[in-house]
Symmetry: D4
Subunit: 165 residues, 8 copies
């Protein structure tokens, strides 16, 4: 039976310094999946400065950050709330506490959570992984999951008849 009428929305949270989001989006498009993707603003400087750029400068950098983080939250909290699936990527750089924070929000909202990270972070991320429905290492695995859960296609398993069901 067809799930073609069901559009899925996927929020891509976390690391902003590699092209993992684009790999997932390209893969999903190549597979023809009915998915719309959302994400935080990934322009690092804009993300840091949006609060003061729009609402006025702050001499104290704490409030500079605070105003920006809240403006970004208008976007991120809304889009996580609308998402069917939340993918969170942990990379090499920075503390990435905001990625873990997003994962906590997704978990508390009952959103299916896919975590994407290398094996070197497995111990440090065990609480996040324990709340996830999948722990992937590569963006291509996330695409494969989306292809399976949305279209029922699994490489090597699904013949044409099943796929057309």
């Amino acid at each position: 039976m067809s799930t073609a009428k069901t559009d899925w929305s996927v929020y891509l949270s976390g690391e902003i310094h590699t092209d993992w989001r684009q790999q997932i989006i390209s893969g999903a498009q190549a597979a023809g999946l009915p998915v719309s993707f959302a994400a935080p603003v990934t322009h690092h400087e804009a993300s840091d400065d949006c609060g003061v750029a729009i609402l006025g400068p702050e001499p104290d950098y704490f409030w500079h950050d605070h105003k920006g983080a809240k403006v970004n939250a208008i976007r991120t909290r809304t889009l996580i709330g609308k998402a069917d699936i939340v993918v969170v990527r942990f990379g090499e750089k920075y503390r990435q506490w905001n990625a873990a924070f997003d994962a906590g929000i997704a978990a508390a909202l009952g959103k299916p959570l896919i975590v994407l990270h290398g094996p070197e972070h497995a111990h440090a991320l065990k609480e996040v992984d324990a709340a996830a429905l999948a722990v992937a290492r590569e963006p291509a695995q996330v695409v494969a999951i989306l292809r399976y859960v949305i279209d029922g296609q699994l490489a090597g398993y699904t013949d044409t008849r099943q796929a057309a069901e």
Copy 2:
């Protein structure tokens, strides 16, 4: 009055070894009902192996199952959550604990529940049936229910004027 603008979504949970889903879908299509159907992935081997096929093999079969069950849950929990009506079919084979588990989820979410099973399982399913709004024996009865609750059509009762209302 018309409910034509309201699309209904129906999730078909449970037994995967007979064509009961296809009978319901065909019947609903023949009746011209504005319904979209959803279901778990019904390819048995793909469903069992999806976790390890995508995320890597597990020597311990418990974790093989665990990874697969979680990947399937991304699909099933999301689609049950979006459904207006949940139909759960209990058949002859296997333990089918996942069918009863889905019924429990649907009940706790307040989804209208239709249970489909033969009379030989009535006693064993009394708690599930007690939470259901209809207990049917045949797929055709589920189609008749959908036709009535969505279009107000009941064979032998509804004349043209009512139907057009």
Copy 3:
């Protein structure tokens, strides 16, 4: 500003022996309001018999009623849950406990409630009226409320410029 993109859904609960629903629907259509209406099945015999007609006869009339009431609940609970506004009409005939029951459901779900009844029932309906956002006597008043809350049009007050806002 335009609310044209917002479709409103209105559930019309209660009395099924007069044409009050058609009056409201015709009035809303004449006013060009972006509203879709929903209602219980209003074919009295079909509504009473739907359970046994589909799922098999019951010698005990209590269970005859029970099966029918549950099948109807699949429709009514779903449509009340999807409604933006619930209108409940109390008429002259019968006990109409199901109308008051629907009103209670709507109130508990936080749905805006419009009650429609004659002045002779005001005392008996004081608890229901106290939970309502409007108590109307005539279907035309319900249309006027919908026209105002959806389009901002109030006869004698709203000039063209406002209406076009």
Copy 4:
């Protein structure tokens, strides 16, 4: 095992002209059940006049009723919200729409509902009964249900060892 540490709260809604509440309370006390009961104010005149008596008179009886119904709602909505079980009694007198309204609230809140009425009202109450977990005719049956669900005691079935469990 003991459920003695769990206090149950039961709200008794509906008819106020017979002593059915006192029968249930006395029966529960005689059975030593850890239940606290709550109810609307059952002094008919006080219930009708509480709004104007406290907040000032109203020449229009609609608003007289309205003020009273809202003051009563402070009590009834709060106590229904706190109840583990809601019992609704439909009697002979009056329209009793407020009883059906309370039943709708209880149903929407997911409260276990016990309905108490004579067989002559079965057809008119079929929607309410369909949402209930028990339909009783006599207060003594409600006591027996409370004794079973709270203490696991069923006359003729449960021996001492079980009861002490």
Copy 5:
């Protein structure tokens, strides 16, 4: 990546005597944002009189106001409930308790809140501002926030490649 498929809805609450709503709507349209705006009925006399104009006159002005406020609530509560973002404007005139009341509703519903007011009201609005994700002085700042959170565009920061992402 594109968020073009996500339509945002923004509710504009508060002051009705200046053209701040039109400034925001025009700005958002000029920026090509996929936003639909909603608001209370801003025709002051219609808003005050809608209850009695539709449902009948009241000699006591308290009930005149009461009927109108409830009819308006059908619109405002529904549209705030559907909004992704709630903007509340506090101006110079009147007490504007309804604006602060709407802000409280938005906060309790977890809606991202943008407050718009001059610096002279900062101390009096500190509780409302503390619950907001942005405190703006000018309608143009609200437009800039919408442009950033919806399209990721920030004047002076976002180059073409980012914007097209």
Copy 6:
């Protein structure tokens, strides 16, 4: 029947410059009501300065206020969330937007709301009053409401037998 086992909690929001809270508390104590009262910190200077006094000074008064308002919100949001009934008093001084904000929070949480204000504010508070279950002018009326809804006692109506029920 006794509701003595049910303790009620009442939150007293709003004006802090008259002794209205003490009047209500004294009245409830005199009536022997099982009520616990909660309120914001009513020491005006402490309330304004708590943020900076504990967490460090801010040269910009906006952030001085912001830190204080958030620390106060830890108390007020928690206590409103725990309250069975919320009373909001609007007085003569200041803008009192925080009182209306609290009323909005209470309304959105479905808390029974009692509003206390003089007749001169009736028009400005019509939206808040429309969401309330009682609109009182004097603290003694709030005590009378609590006495009625908690103990079922109404001066001049309730005889001994009823009261002891």
Copy 7:
């Protein structure tokens, strides 16, 4: 630090033909844990017949079961709703669909779920296990989990100082 003031409630669902519940209760008592346990009525005949014994006989066994299952649901749904932790035991006998149904309810309500079953059921229970926070084989393991999560005591790991924290 002490969690002694926090009483935990644990619901023990599922198989009723072995003494697993008593093993867990005895173990928790021996460990001095502040836990109260709840369970369905475990007297098999009483559980089957409670509906007709209290509310009157049914010639059709489907309705005999139905009435009983609903009366039992008053107890089980209430106690699962109040539980902090839900333990579900799957044994050898019967279909045990009600155990899986309870597990589904617990999962949808977000209750921490502990599943207790032998390795021979691991594949059939993979969906239930995937939603659980622990999968145990023996009642003693459930006691060990309760001791750890409630008191922080883990055999071989926790020294006196930690335990007293």
Copy 8:
């Protein structure tokens, strides 16, 4: 007025290698505050090994961690869910993604959040801080906040009469 009857529960999440929890607990006890504190199990090795120690060893360390993290989640998710206030401490060591994850859960549940960290982490924690109601540097500040929000006491501001209110 007294809030003495209201017991507050505070969950202390995050860093486990310094005595910050004990400082807060001692400070609250010295101030006589009616607070009960809860926390994760802070014995590092027990926390890491609890899953395999109770439920059996795992050769793959990923599943070793996974079982432990889930058993810990039974405790942490339950206690965060019961908390009135959640305090999250970020220290020097480790990635502490679980602390940010807990903060995300608390934020999504609407729990008042107090974040405790040094100024060197302000930029990396800006998203978490933006969701908090207070950002403290020292445990003593958390005690001061608890003293203010629970008892209304602020050093240097609150005289005896206020405190006794």
